[in-house]
Structure formats: structure tokens, C-alpha cells
Symmetry: C2
Subunit: 107 residues, 2 copies
DNA sequence: TGCGTATTTGGCAATTAATGCAAATAGATT
DNA sequence: AATCTATTTGCATTAATTGCCAAATACGCA
């Protein structure tokens, strides 16, 4: 595998990994409706504000969110609303089966 | 937040988390071209076969892959090709900036 | 049955992630 | 300047992930 390919896979994986936490997905959902300051986000999330702040940093570090300080508040904004359009695909994946298929003969 | 919402977020997060590893993304890419047995996948991936097997299990457990045993080989198949259509969005996220915006006054 | 190939699982060590508390920082207000 | 509010960071703890090796399992074939 080429170095370029490896870097691309690494970069993509970072984005998916950042999305791989329910709290961070809740944040993304919230911001899909427009920017919010940390305190507003914190109100809706059952975790210490420091924890919320770290989740926000994870999302910002990979580029999913951007932040802007205005006064003494920091507003976070969703940079790629396209993420929410992926939920339909994700949900098509969520189902009961264990993904194994049995051969006729062994049923 | 309702219990239903929480479960949905958890389920979605599981899918994203499963995609959050470069080796697993490489596997997904490979399988986008059609099903493969573990030994074929292993040939293209620089890791112990036991490691590859575990990555495959992660992807199968969340429903992204399915597997079928035929003879003494196990074939894995991508259950949701829609995943690869998400890359354009993911790549729009991959960029140099740190996601912060400075106010005019403080520049 | 016994052997060879393919795949998974157990055990373990090393690394990374998540979380809360307390302290630090930055800007607003008095 | 002193203080208040909003947010981030340091630290410690616990939990989860990753990866390899070795052993176990499952199947095909002689």
C-alpha cells in the first residue's frame, strides 16, 4: 500500500473515530441546527462541562467543527452538514443479525 | 434526552467507531470491489492474520460486513456500499486549519 | 482417522481514550 | 484592580483498543 493511500486512510479514520462516540454525535446533531456556545451545548448533555469541552475539541481537531470566540463565550459550528446525510446509510447497517450466513447444507 | 434517542446515538456511534481505524477502512475499500476470503484480505494488509480477523469481526459485529463460510474459507462481503459514498464528505473535512476563527479585532 | 490449510480465540502487554475534579485562563463588569 | 462568568487544561483513574504469539477450532482430503 502506498504512503499516500496510507495517509488518506489514516485521515479518514480520524474523522470516523471522532464521530464514534454518542456524546459527540449528540453534539453534531445539535449543531446541525446552527451554531451554539459551549454553555448551551453543555445544558443538553449529561456530563461535566470539561468533558463536553474535550469532546468539542476532538471534533474541532479533525475539522468537523470550527469555533469562534465572541465576548467570553465560544461558539461552535458544524463545518460539514453532509455528515447528517450519512445517517440513512448508517441506519441501514443497524439491525439485529450477526452478519453470518449459513450454508444450505448446515442449516 | 429520551432513551430512544440515546440508543440511536449509541448505535450510530458503534458504526462510526468501527470505521475509525485505517486497517478497517482498507478492508472496506477492498470489499467494495466484491467479496473476499480472509486469506486474500490478509495478503493486502500488513498485520498478523489474527489481527485482521479481529478487525473483520469488529466490522461484522456492527453489520457493515457479513461473512459466509464456504469450504474451509470464510468470505466477507460489504453489506452497505453506501459507506464509500461518504468519503467525499469526510474528505471535505480533512484540511489544514485548526478550526478556530479569530475576531477581526484580535487579528 | 490423521494431516494440512484457513480462521478464530485466549492471554497478555502496551497504548490510547474517557471522565470528573480542581486549577488555570480569558474576557466582561463593576 | 477585583471579581464574575465561560471555557479550557492538568492530573489521576479507569476502561477500552490494539496487536502479537500461541493454542484452539473447523473443514477438506488422503
Amino acid at each position: 500500500m502506498s504512503t499516500t493511500t496510507k495517509h488518506l486512510l489514516d485521515a479518514r479514520a480520524e474523522v470516523f473515530k471522532a464521530l464514534g462516540h454518542p456524546t459527540r454525535l449528540a453534539i453534531v446533531d445539535m449543531l446541525a441546527g446552527g451554531e451554539r456556545c459551549v454553555c448551551e451545548i453543555d445544558e443538553h448533555i449529561d456530563a461535566d462541562m470539561s468533558t463536553v469541552s474535550r469532546h468539542l475539541a476532538v471534533l474541532r481537531n479533525v475539522g468537523i467543527l470550527s469555533s469562534e470566540k465572541r465576548g467570553n463565550q465560544v461558539f461552535y459550528r458544524l463545518e460539514c452538514p453532509c455528515i447528517t446525510s450519512f445517517y440513512a446509510c448508517v441506519e441501514s447497517v443497524i439491525r439485529g443479525g450477526d452478519g453470518t450466513v449459513q450454508l444450505e447444507a448446515s442449516r
